[in-house]
């Protein structure tokens, strides 16, 4: 193993990167339009305008893009490389995973000084991503359940029937709204940690999400 250089490793495959950036774009659009839907501004100057109509149209289109992206990423976790695999998202279930998580936690809490070397995902991050994906699924289910009410008895309304017995209609709105704030909280955490690890690990954390390559101490076997 080289003492002075890092190895270039292909970590993030194309579907992983695409899914990530489609999520970024669609969540930004969904959050912005969602704010206006939840608390609209009186943009319309005449009853023939269609301001809210367009805002909702953009919201629903972005929602479909987001749902497809999330679903693709879930499928890719079954067929992609080991860094994309579903096992990555449950580091606490294996002994080495727990060890890596504790090491990372110790670094974050200023106990250890040495930056733990991570090749694929940061184990703390993947634990958060699991919770995030649950939030995504809640968002998609509540969102499409509310959307499907324009056509009661339709395929979407019928297949989401269980949602209407789990939630009251207003409860669904509240969950949809509150989940967005939780995703915001995650985004702050996510951007900060990516930036921190990019600086501390010297592994090209941030650009890896564009190129797919990370730089690691250990050579991939």
């Amino acid at each position: 193993m080289s003492e002075s250089c890092k190895f270039k490793c292909y970590i993030w495959e194309l579907p992983v990167r695409w899914s990530h950036w489609v999520n970024v774009l669609s969540i930004s659009i969904l959050a912005l339009t969602g704010f206006f839907i939840g608390n609209p501004v009186s943009f319309g100057s005449s009853a023939s305008d269609f301001t809210m109509g367009w805002i909702r149209f953009v919201h629903f289109t972005a929602a479909y893009a987001f749902a497809v992206s999330v679903l693709s990423r879930i499928i890719w976790s079954l067929i992609g490389n080991k860094y994309a695999g579903w096992k990555e998202f449950f580091p606490l279930l294996t002994a080495p995973g727990r060890e890596r998580t504790i090491k990372m936690l110790r670094y974050y809490m200023f106990v250890d000084k040495e930056v733990p070397e991570t090749v694929g995902h940061n184990p703390l991050a993947t634990s958060a991503y699991f919770a995030l994906f649950l939030l995504y699924i809640l968002m998609i289910l509540t969102g499409f359940s509310l959307y499907a009410e324009h056509a009661p008895g339709g395929i979407m309304h019928k297949s989401l029937g269980f949602m209407y017995s789990l939630f009251s209609n207003q409860g669904m709105r509240l969950a949809h709204h509150a989940s967005m704030w939780m995703i915001f909280g995650f985004i702050i955490n996510h951007i900060y940690s990516a930036w921190l690890m990019d600086i501390k690990e010297h592994g090209s954390e941030i650009s890896s999400m564009f190129s797919g390559y990370k730089f690691t101490v250990k050579k991939e076997k």
Binding site: S48, T51, G53, L174, A178, W181, M182, F184, N189
Partner: protein
């Protein structure tokens, strides 16, 4: 009105039994309802049942021939608002015709008999027409402590409901209380109030929620049964699709203002006077399924949104709890104060996360990390 006024003599009972052999058409003729009014009524009912106009002759023909059904009306934990809604119909044709075509054998509010006589009338009807009579229930049923919080003539409502609804052909739960428990079932629900379907799970129940229920929907439900001989198609909450199959928001006369982006911002502002969308004033039309915008109340005179007040969501289960606060878009977040809205909590959450990571970042900027061996220069 054809309420059995006396049930003490067998002669009278026989008379009323004879009366039942007449068809609805004949009875209406006897009552002086003109053919023209009858056909107008049939057309209105066809529209209320969401059937195409071509069905009107079939409705008229069926009503001409059908024998009038026996109906008993039970009042439980209620305000009698649904009875009022039915009786106070100003234009007599619809309201009275429905009572004319039905043989209402028991209705505490409007029957002449009282006490033991009334009890006997009910008893006679449910034994004589077992499995054949219609039952209308108004008001919720108390379940707590054996149902002792609601009693009529010494029997608990639960007991009466089990007996009367259990052997009815079908039970129409009229109003939100009978359908889902209504205000009595709102938190903390001291009497353990529930709707008819929850109290008597075995009964065939048609829910006609609303506070009050629209009398036209009750009439249409009965007419549907008379014309087709079966109960109407219902949604997952037990409501007939013809009346509850569409969302208020999607049929609302103010919907163009919603799509345009024209909203009432304050009560009495210019937008309110112009009749703009009440979405920002907490209108629950987007969360409520009912035919109010098309059927309207009081002989199609008006309905809440038309009069400038948002929908309260009164035809949805547990609306007292889930639709409040009535003048806000979103419910309050449980566990936080009344005034804490989801947005305030969310903003606090995001600000907290931002602050935590800012501090973490500052600490990181100050600390000296041990670089991994391999990346050291030289």
């Amino acid at each position: 009105m054809s309420i059995q006024k006396n049930s003490d003599t067998s002669e009278k009972a026989e008379q009323s039994a004879e009366k039942r052999e007449y068809s609805v058409g004949e009875i209406l003729k006897q009552r002086g309802v003109s053919r023209r009014d009858f056909l107008k009524f049939c057309t209105a009912m066809t529209a209320a049942m969401s059937l195409p106009a071509s069905f009107a002759p079939s409705v008229a023909q069926a009503l001409d021939e059908v024998k009038r059904p026996t109906l008993v009306w039970l009042n439980f934990q209620d305000c009698t608002g649904d009875t009022e809604a039915l009786l106070r119909a100003s234009n007599p044709t619809v309201g009275e015709i429905i009572l004319d075509i039905l043989s209402v054998d028991y209705h505490e509010t409007i029957m002449a008999a009282a006490g033991h006589q009334a009890d006997e009338a009910l008893e006679n009807t449910i034994t004589k027409y077992k499995g054949k009579y219609l039952c209308v229930v108004e008001g919720s049923i108390s379940m707590k402590d054996g149902g002792v919080y609601g009693c009529t003539s010494g029997k608990t409502h639960l007991e009466i409901a089990r007996r009367v609804c259990g052997s009815a052909l079908a039970t129409i739960a009229i109003g939100t209380c009978a359908a889902y428990g209504g205000i009595a079932a709102a938190v903390p629900n001291p009497t353990g109030a529930v709707g008819v379907k929850d109290a008597v799970p075995g009964a065939t129940v048609i829910n006609l929620p609303g506070c009050p229920c629209n009398a036209d929907n009750l009439t249409a439900t009965v007419v549907h049964y008379l014309v087709f001989g079966k109960i109407p198609a219902m949604d997952s909450k037990g409501r007939p699709l013809f009346a509850y199959g569409k969302r208020i928001h999607d049929n609302c006369e103010r919907r163009p203002h919603f799509d345009a982006g024209q909203y009432v911002e304050h009560w009495g502002d210019d937008a309110h006077r112009k009749g703009f969308c009440l979405y920002k004033m907490g209108c629950k039309g987007p969360a409520t399924f009912h035919n109010c915008p098309t059927q309207r109340y009081n002989e199609k005179t008006s309905w809440p949104v038309a009069s400038g007040h948002g929908c309260a969501g009164c035809s949805e289960p547990q609306f007292w709890d889930t639709m409040s606060p009535l003048y806000r878009r979103l419910p309050n977040v449980p566990g936080f104060g009344i005034e804490a809205t989801a947005d305030k909590i969310g903003l606090g959450l995001v600000a907290g996360a931002g602050a935590a990571f800012a501090v973490h970042g500052a600490l990181n900027a100050l600390r000296k990390d041990k670089e991994p061996e391999e990346t050291k220069e030289g």
